[in-house]
Amino acid sequence: MADKKTMTLNLSEPEMAALETLCERKGMSKTTLLRQALRLYQSMDERLERGEKVFFEDPRSKEKAELMVL
């Protein structure tokens, strides 16, 4: 795998708590979680750049809710 680079991240207490909760729930290290989050974000962003919209769909009601777009 390619060389890795180190980064320092500054998070607020609530943000850190959210990160730690997610890590515990998913059984992943912080690095892994953030790496997965980055991939997901890039995927979403790429679709948005192409003009697509990102939705969540309730499988039962088939109702769609648009993902918040900043």
């Binding site: 795998m1 992943m28 690095t31 892994t32 991939r39 997901l40 890039q42 995927s43 679709r47």
Partner: protein, 213 residues
């Protein structure tokens, strides 16, 4: 970037002997050429008599959309996809495309856990029972799949992988590899969805009696 991960033996069914094959992360022009020339020729000259419905469908324009969408994703997200190849006897014997994020487990052991999704695992047509009467190399799927599980450990995903099996390969994933069969997936042309859970991955990679160190 293409790097060699190791050398592993494939069995030549015709001679019964094992031959060394290179396992690579990433592909290059030579793999493309092999795919375009060797594989295509084999596909074209031999129309499989017992080709599966899914494969016949793949010739449809409708299913080309699968590839166009993947293509857009691959180009737009360099971090998301990884390609693997096996080479033996100066030819590409198999390729595998995996997605490293955005896929989540359906397994009751760890619902919604991130996993490595095997988007494609393709063996050269001359190695496939469904294509030729006497397929040549055996073990391509085993090597590639092992590489996928390996990647899942490397990515700190505890060996978890998921895939949709091309029908004809259901028994391989269920019985040979020991994955959980989630049944036909309507969202994916009715192909059966399989997953290897963390527990199954541990068993899968465990050396069995008689294995080398």
């Amino acid at each position: 970037m293409k790097t060699q991960l190791g050398t592993y033996d494939l069995q030549n069914r015709l001679t019964g002997r094992f031959e060394p094959a290179g396992l690579f992360e990433g592909i290059d022009e030579s793999n493309l050429r092999s795919y375009e020339q060797d594989w295509k020729i084999a596909f074209e000259t031999r129309l499989p008599g017992d080709a599966t419905t899914a494969e016949r469908l793949a010739a449809n324009a409708q299913d080309a959309r699968w590839d166009w969408r993947r293509l857009a994703e691959i180009r737009g997200n360099p971090l998301l996809y990884q390609m693997y190849a096996i080479e033996c006897a100066a030819r590409t014997q198999g390729i595998m495309l995996v997605k490293k994020g955005g896929s989540f487990s359906r397994h009751p052991d760890h619902p919604k856990a991130d996993l490595i999704y095997v988007d494609r695992l393709a063996t050269a047509p001359w190695n496939r029972r469904g294509f030729v009467g006497e397929p040549i190399y055996r073990g391509v799927g085993q090597v590639l799949l092992s590489a996928a599980v390996n990647l899942a450990y490397e990515e700190d995903l505890d060996g978890r992988i998921g895939l949709h099996s091309l029908s004809g390969a259901d028994a391989f994933y269920r019985d040979v590899i020991g994955m959980t069969d989630f049944g036909p997936d309507d969202e994916n042309y009715g192909m059966r969805y399989f997953e290897m859970s963390s527990a199954q991955a541990r068993v899968f990679l465990e050396p069995k009696e008689g294995d080398g160190a």
